[in-house]
């Protein structure tokens, strides 16, 4: 047994253990921490499977952003002091049964693979050169299946609209109820001053490198969102009200530019979302930059929650 396979076995045991303890946790807070750790471990597993793009996304979205969203929900639950929210026994049994069935189904599927596992990977690589991209994942996202990517960004905006629509009518257009811990000379303030320049550079790098290496708009956008949230939570920058025109513009700039370039392809190239030959790479990078901004703002605002108070004059 090599060191690597020992590492893999250890990783699998750890993932299963953390998964089980997350389910068994009685406190919501403990479960969330378990969930975040689980996400980080999974991203290591993805690295071991040589799926670095997936690993980055899992760490950023699965562990980081989702963890942050659920933590926010737990904090709100504590404030609300609702009635006993523990699910009843039949519900828990039903959930367990369903999970077991899905797991059994997946086991059947995975344990009886077809003789030759077919894949599109060679075809993806063969045609990638035309676009000037080096990262096959970016190729799938922005060349072959650009339509899906474009519309997923619209889904993100709808999700944000869904969160906003939970606000009371009286504070519509107001400021999201992000909890701010403004204490000058605290560690948080120090970090909020120290990290953002580094984070912004990392985000730009991830977005830029996404065309060639693992990375891209979603990962870059998440880092950007994290930096923005850090600054806002530390009270160094105010949370903007959701009616600000610049905010709305930033939210849609990515999909709008994507859509415009796609439509231009009907005239300047052969089809919708086709790029004129020779211009594919610069156009895709332009789209990625715009998307990074939009995704960053959208994720930051998703974490900030629905508007809770109107702007002070």
């Amino acid at each position: 047994m090599t060191i690597l396979s020992a590492f893999d076995i250890g990783l699998v045991v750890l993932i299963l253990g953390i998964g089980a303890s997350t389910i068994a946790a009685r406190e919501a807070f403990t479960a969330v921490i378990g969930f975040v750790v689980y996400g980080l471990l999974l991203s290591i597993a993805w690295v071991r499977l040589s799926a670095v793009d997936v690993a980055l996304t899992e760490a950023a979205i699965g562990g980081g952003m989702t963890g942050m969203l659920i933590l926010g929900a737990v904090a709100r639950l504590r404030l609300a002091k609702g009635t006993d929210t523990r699910a009843s026994l039949p519900v828990r049994f039903a959930a367990g049964g369903l999970c077991a069935l899905v797991a059994a189904g997946l086991a059947i599927a995975i344990l009886s693979p077809p003789e030759a596992i077919p894949t599109l990977a060679p075809m993806v690589m063969e045609n990638l050169a035309q676009s000037g991209l080096g990262n096959p994942v970016a190729g799938v996202l922005f060349v072959y299946r650009a339509l899906d990517t474009l519309l997923e960004k619209v889904v993100l905006i709808l999700a944000l609209l869904g969160v906003w629509s939970l606000a009371p009518d009286s504070v519509w257009g107001g400021i999201p109820g992000l909890r701010v811990y403004a204490q000058p000379s605290s560690t948080l303030t120090f970090l909020a001053q120290l990290l953002p320049p580094v984070g912004i550079v990392v985000a730009i790098y991830m977005c830029w490198v996404g065309a060639k290496e693992p990375g891209g708009a979603f990962q870059g956008g998440t880092v950007l969102a994290a930096m923005w949230l850090l600054v806002m939570i530390a009270g160094l920058k105010n949370v903007p009200s959701i009616s600000q025109p610049w905010l709305r513009l930033l939210l849609v700039v990515g999909p709008v530019i994507f859509l415009a370039i796609g439509l231009a392809g009907m005239v300047l190239a052969n089809a919708f979302l086709d790029y004129p030959s020779g211009y594919a790479k610069p156009l895709i990078i332009a789209v990625e930059v715009a998307l990074t901004l939009s995704i960053g703002v959208a994720l930051g605002l998703l974490a900030a929650g629905p508007p809770e108070r109107v702007q002070q004059q």
């Binding site: 993806v124 299946r145 889904v155 519509w172």
Partner: protein
């Protein structure tokens, strides 16, 4: 037998219309979001009618040519790229949903209209954007030729539909919306897992390519089961219907209409695509009977519970649970016993017609219920006395919708049930005929309860809280009349449903 690796199709003339059908709503959503609530309704009032015109042009094209329209997105053919395809089913559903959505938009002007010069308000801003998003998502469901594109489409649909449920912000509607979200997300994840398994087995998600490669093996069967259960949850097929009644009954009237009439048809359409187009040979007699049994259980359960409701909107919501059941009766009836394949026969036509006729009728009924609520300030069925004199046009629309649900001629419901009954007789499956007839009886029962209460004289003079705008009544009545006259499609365009079906390529221009 065509070679499994030959790329199936190329962009046809007018294929660009399909792109437009997805781009227009997306552009509307983005534009409204950035320009703000004051413009959202204006943008929708331009785009939604254009969407209707676009759908009729596509319908005309498909009908005239007898072939499907295809567009290869990004000039990358499947399996690498994505194809959009409009066959007869897509074209017919697109037109029907465009009609319902336009009528809902007219109806919604009263509740979500923009006051000139006022600042952006929450509910109108959200409503118009979500309505356009639903329109775009439905078009994508109808046109998407790739299982992952369809996943994005139902995600779009879910995130557009859930906020509509709790648009008025009451605590119980929040709870209903959250329950809906949980069911819908569970459905999404099951569908996604199934899609991943299919990709792992066949290295394509394109519907046409997949249909040539797919065969019964463990991974495929698991994938088919997972995706189907996921879509059942989103379609609210019994016993996964638990989220539907509170969500559809609690939403504002315009939202209820679009949720009950349009949104559940999206996931249903994907089930049809999956089983009729991707793997028609995989369901088999047992699976088909199981689908039918769930449908029958939905009809009986939904109808019986509807009969016992005190509140009008809940009654209509449970009626939706029952009517969804009819949609699944077509699976055992469309199964060709000799080849064990699902075939695009009369049963499929009947099922799709049922979907369209339910959409128009149910939207009209929810609108009527909304107007009754506005006038009376409540929707208790027992206290509806005198309402038929106060707003006769609305009650008439409600009754006409009921006529179609029951299946009286010449309504679309009549033709749909006729085709299904015919298939039941032809295939010797009399038990589904009994279920259908019993369902009709139940439906007449709850329609009778509501209407007899509505036409009864009121004990004391009815206090009308507000006058109902005429155009709202007209919108409901138009949809009800559409549903009533839908049976007349038997004289002509009904054949379009067969265009592009592999087993009936002979259908030519009429």
């Amino acid at each position: 037998m065509p070679d499994a690796n030959v790329l199936p199709d190329a962009t046809t003339t007018d294929g660009a219309l399909l792109v437009l059908a997805i781009v227009l709503p997306a552009a509307g959503v983005l534009l409204s979001f950035v320009l703000g609530g004051r413009y959202a309704e204006r943008i929708a009032s331009v785009l939604l009618p254009s969407g209707f015109i676009l759908a009729t042009i596509i319908f005309g094209d498909v009908w005239q040519s007898g072939h499907r329209l295809v567009y290869i997105v990004g000039d990358w053919k499947p399996p690498l790229g994505i194809a959009l395809r409009a066959d007869g089913l897509s074209a017919a559903m697109m037109v029907a949903m465009a009609i319902v959505i336009c009528a809902v938009a007219i109806f919604a002007h009263a509740d979500f209209g923009m006051r000139a010069g006022s600042v952006e308000a929450r509910a109108p801003f959200a409503f118009w954007i979500l309505l356009m998003a639903i329109w775009g998502a439905m078009n994508m469901v109808f046109l998407g030729g790739d299982l992952f594109t369809l996943y994005v489409a139902i995600e779009l649909l879910t995130f557009a539909a859930v906020p509509l449920v709790c648009l008025d912000g009451r605590a119980e509607t929040l709870q209903a919306a959250l329950r809906y979200l949980l069911f819908a997300l569970l459905g999404s994840i099951l569908y996604l897992v199934g899609t991943a398994l299919l990709y792992g087995s066949y290295a394509t998600l394109d519907i046409v390519l997949l249909s040539r490669r797919v065969h019964a093996e463990p991974a495929t069967l698991v994938a088919a089961t997972l995706t189907t259960i996921g879509l059942f949850a989103k379609t609210a097929l019994f016993p996964l219907h638990l989220w539907l009644p509170p969500a559809h009954a609690g939403a504002p009237a315009a939202a209820s209409a679009v949720l009950s009439a349009v949104v559940v048809k999206g996931s249903f359409f994907i089930i049809v695509r999956l089983w009729f187009d991707v793997m028609p040979g995989l369901l088999g007699p047992v699976g088909a009977q199981l689908f039918g049994a769930l449908g029958a259980a939905a009809i009986v359960f939904g109808s019986v519970v509807a009969l016992r409701q005190q509140r009008l909107k809940l009654l209509i919501a449970y009626s939706t649970v029952a009517q969804i059941g009819y949609l699944f009766l077509m699976f055992p009836l469309a199964l060709d016993t000799a080849s064990a394949q699902l075939q695009g026969s009369g049963a499929l036509t009947g099922g799709m017609l049922q979907a369209i006729s339910h959409a128009t009728a149910k939207a009209a009924m929810f609108m009527a219920a909304g107007l009754i609520y506005v006038v009376l300030g409540h929707d208790r069925i027992a206290e509806l006395g005198g309402i038929a004199r106060a707003i006769p046009m609305t009650i008439f629309a409600f009754a006409l919708g009921g006529v179609s649900l029951i299946g009286l001629p010449p309504s679309g419901g009549f033709l749909a049930k006729w085709l299904l009954l015919e298939a039941a007789v032809a295939t010797g499956q009399w038990w589904w005929a009994i279920v259908m007839l019993a369902g009709g009886l139940f439906t007449s029962g709850y329609m009778f309860i509501v209407l007899s209460s509505a036409v009864a004289p009121s004990g004391e003079p009815l206090k009308l809280r507000v006058a109902v705008p005429r155009y709202q009544e007209a919108a409901a009545l138009t949809l009800a009349l559409t549903s009533l006259l839908l049976g007349l499609v038997a004289l002509g365009p009904i054949d379009i449903l067969q265009v592009g079906r592999a087993d009936s390529m002979m259908v030519g221009p009429r």
